[in-house]
Amino acid sequence: MKEALKVGVSGVRGVVGDSFTPQTALSFAQAFATFVGHGPVVVGRDTRPTGAMIEQAVVAGLQSAGCQPILAGVVPTPTVLILTQSLRARGGIAITASHNPSQWNALKFAERTGMFLNELRAEELFDVYHQQNFPMVSEAEIMPVVVESDAMEYHIRRVVNYVDQKAIRKRKLKVAVDCCNGVGAVHSVSFLREVLGCTVFPVLDQPTGRFERDPEPLPENLKLLCDTVRANGCDIGFAQDPDGDRLAIVNEKGEPIGEDQTLALAVQQVLDAHEKGPVAINLATSKSVEFVARQRGVEVVKTRIGEINVSETMVRIGSVVGGEGNGGIIIPRMHPCRDSYIGMAVVLELMAMTGKTVSELRGAIPSYFMVKDKIRIRGEQAPEILRSLRRQYADKNPSLLDGIYIDFGDSWVHARRSNTEPVIRITAEAASPEEAARLAGEFRQKIEQAV
């Protein structure tokens, strides 16, 4: 079956050889160049075998419309964003389908601030795209390509400036890292070994773009990493996704601690060792993050789901740390985007400063249990279903920020319509698995009634 091209706030995604062609990439690059105006635009990509083909199309599109492509090469998505901001470029394009399988690829568009386009700006871009009328510059105005081979240097320098590099190096931690055959395979081993002084045991560290595990860093996909941690007596295991923005952690016993807990540990370290300030997380992030923040007396602000929504909120309220429960750590003083490298550095710093093991650190944070469910609907039914839920839970003070979210203090339940499928997603979290299942089940029942 033909997979449709998916055009939305997170960029343009498609299956290469199917809906995503060089012509697609060319037109969107032309539209982006027209949208941001003449000037430098940073371009980076992950390790997917289709990346080089798309990169060339993007280069041509940018040049023809008067932009100067700054090629960062195979780098993490956060590196593209950081470089865009550092170089005061007009914008940035990351060529990556993130955690989607190998056959997918995508273009993700960044503002000159180094943040992704928000919903309104993305709509403006797509308007330009749909006009299909891109001004071209004359031959004499074409700007030559610049190859920026130090892009990752910029990124790592910022990480090092943020954390106490000496303290980390002194501990000489033993670290396993699962690079998912993605950008981490190019950069993570030298980062951990050379920059942070760890002894490194890498797995899936061939940058082939042929992902040898499911690219989402979920606990069930990390068996190889867990085994590596156990076999080598590592202090910690890190798992990245193909474009290096998300991070999951395996403790010294070889057990995944859950993606939510990555963020909880990072929040703890930033608030304890760096700066106190508000924390921003999306609605579906675990209570454990909230617990860590409240324990330290800082405010917690909830945002809509989607990285750019968290990033923008953080910048607006002056948040010092936050992110998403899927393993996306954001530290705005470093850069307001998800970044597995600052994540690794901060967690290692936490271990170095406290001298504690991952399971000790994790054990100090109360456990919550999350249940996820989805219900297939007809797309147009979604608004009415959500309205009906809002009416029924009117006395529970529901948040309407993104679907419906109800906070019960020590538990919560959330329902929203998916952006990509005709389903309603239900997430519930509570102190016990039974309570979480009960909350999700209650929502499910109400939705089924409404259908």
Partner: protein, 450 residues
């Protein structure tokens, strides 16, 4: 209205008709035609060439082709290399003899010649249908840079020519590659053939310091200095190294028509064989062939047609009056380095100065005129010529490619260019006034029509 499509390529103005989308579709069509096999890629130094290069690489990778990237490479050198790398074809990105702002994709077949019309029509059909081969992620093509093509090329050229004689003559040679694809290779040539090199406009900047079309007008820089520098010969190239015009040691810029004539005279002296040329090349070539008692075969204008006839007729040499020559025993390309080598070889073997070689040729007065005209109207303008132009009793009319009339003293030819939006009028006669008069008559009639 600047886009020109032909079976062997596409040419247009950057920022106008030659959009990246058109380039990408055309390259995708060629990649589809080749079925994702091995392909060579070369480009010149024009400002727009890297951008077009990126389009072509992306398209070819998407069709699963294995791309061997020769980087900045003269078109004839690329054509020569097709067989050596066992490629199924090649693409040359070059503005050729056109001015700033122009660029083109030239498609080359597995024999190193411009893609022949049958294959080219398949590419055009695919281009128009827009239905391209699109490989999935695990069958993407690959691209690799290649720089091993230079030595074998010059090695073959050395073997083809009497290198010993050229080296012994110790020529001082001026070369002007108009800042194009040839810049990086002039030294290799000079070293192999023991020449002392004076380069002119030889920074590979893509900036055109003169007209890119080799002819006396674009040779004026070289003509003004060659005598003072005591150069033995001056060579003025197009930016793809496919065309050449000559400047003598005395500073006379020879008409580009005589490049082919000088070389044909030399080649036929050594070995007899059929000569292939287009229907609007100087009559000097016919005279030289008659002197050597060999036949001349006339074709439509353009490298593709001349090379094709060269193969069909098993000719010994082919060329055109725009300053181009091919030897089928070397390659199926109009090749500037080969032409330069042959001229030097003629000078060395005959112990002649370049001006002597030119003086030995029967010469005519030739008048060339260009009329700007949309190609959609050009053919109509030519069609009315027989009604309005009276060739007289003796005139013989010929329609091989456009309108041609032959008289005892000369000929006139008018045709629509296949690469630009112009009508070209060429008139040649023993008598300058007659040549100019006939050209004037034809130009007036066409101007009235358009």
């Amino acid at each position: 209205m600047t886009l020109r499509l032909a079976s062997f390529g596409i040419r247009g103005f950057v920022g106008d008709s030659l959009s990246p989308k058109v380039v990408m579709d055309f390259a995708s069509a060629f990649g589809t035609f080749l079925g994702g096999r091995r392909i060579l890629l070369g480009r010149d130094t024009r400002y727009s060439s890297p951008m077009i290069h990126a389009c072509v690489v992306s398209s070819l990778l998407s069709t699963g082709c294995e791309v061997l990237d020769l980087g900045v490479c003269p078109t004839p050198m690329l054509q020569y290399s097709v067989k050596a790398y066992e490629a199924s074809g090649a693409v040359s990105i070059t503005g050729g003899h056109n001015g700033m702002g122009w660029n083109a994709l030239i498609l080359i077949g597995n024999d190193g010649a411009f893609l022949e019309p049958l294959g080219g029509e398949n590419v055009l059909d695919c281009f128009h249908a827009g239905d391209f081969l699109k490989q999935p992620w695990d069958k993407m093509g690959r691209v690799a840079s290649v720089d091993t093509f230079v030595e074998p090329y010059f090695q073959a050229l050395e073997e083809k020519l009497n290198a010993e004689a050229i080296r012994r003559a110790q020529f001082k040679v001026l070369m002007d590659p108009v800042g194009g694809a040839g810049c990086g290779y002039l030294d290799s040539f000079a070293q192999r053939f023991g020449c002392s090199l004076v380069p002119l406009n030889a920074q590979p900047s893509g900036y055109l310091a003169r007209e890119a079309e080799p002819r006396p007008r674009s040779s004026s820089q070289m003509a003004s200095i060659i005598k003072h520098l005591h150069g033995h010969a001056g060579f003025v190239f197009s930016s793809d190294m496919g065309r050449l015009s000559l400047v003598t040691e005395e500073g006379e810029p020879a008409s580009e028509e005589y490049t082919f004539a000088v070389i044909a005279n030399h080649v036929l002296d050594k070995k007899a064989g059929a000569v292939i040329t287009n229907c609007c090349t100087t009559r000097t070539v016919d005279d030289i062939a008659a002197l050597h008692k060999v036949p001349v075969v006339k074709t439509r204008v353009g490298q593709a047609y001349v090379i094709s006839a060269l193969m069909d007729e098993q000719g010994i040499i082919g060329g055109e009056g725009n300053g181009s020559v091919a030897l089928p025993s070397f390659s199926r390309a109009f090749d500037g380095f080969l032409m330069m080598g042959l001229v030097l070889e003629a000078m060395a073997e005959k112990k002649n100065r370049l001006s002597d070689l030119l003086k030995a040729l029967p010469r005519y007065h030739i008048v060339k005129r260009k009329l700007t005209c949309e190609s959609s109207r050009a053919y109509r303008a030519l069609e009315i010529l027989p009604e309005r132009f009276d060739p007289g009793e003796e005139g013989r009319v010929d329609w091989t490619d456009g309108f041609r009339v032959d008289w005892a003293d000369g000929w006139i030819h008018a045709r629509a260019s296949r690469t630009e939006q112009i009508v070209r009028v060429i008139s040649e006669s023993e008598n300058r006034v007659t040549a100019e008069q006939r050209a004037g008559d034809i130009v007036r009639i066409i101007e009235q029509e358009i």
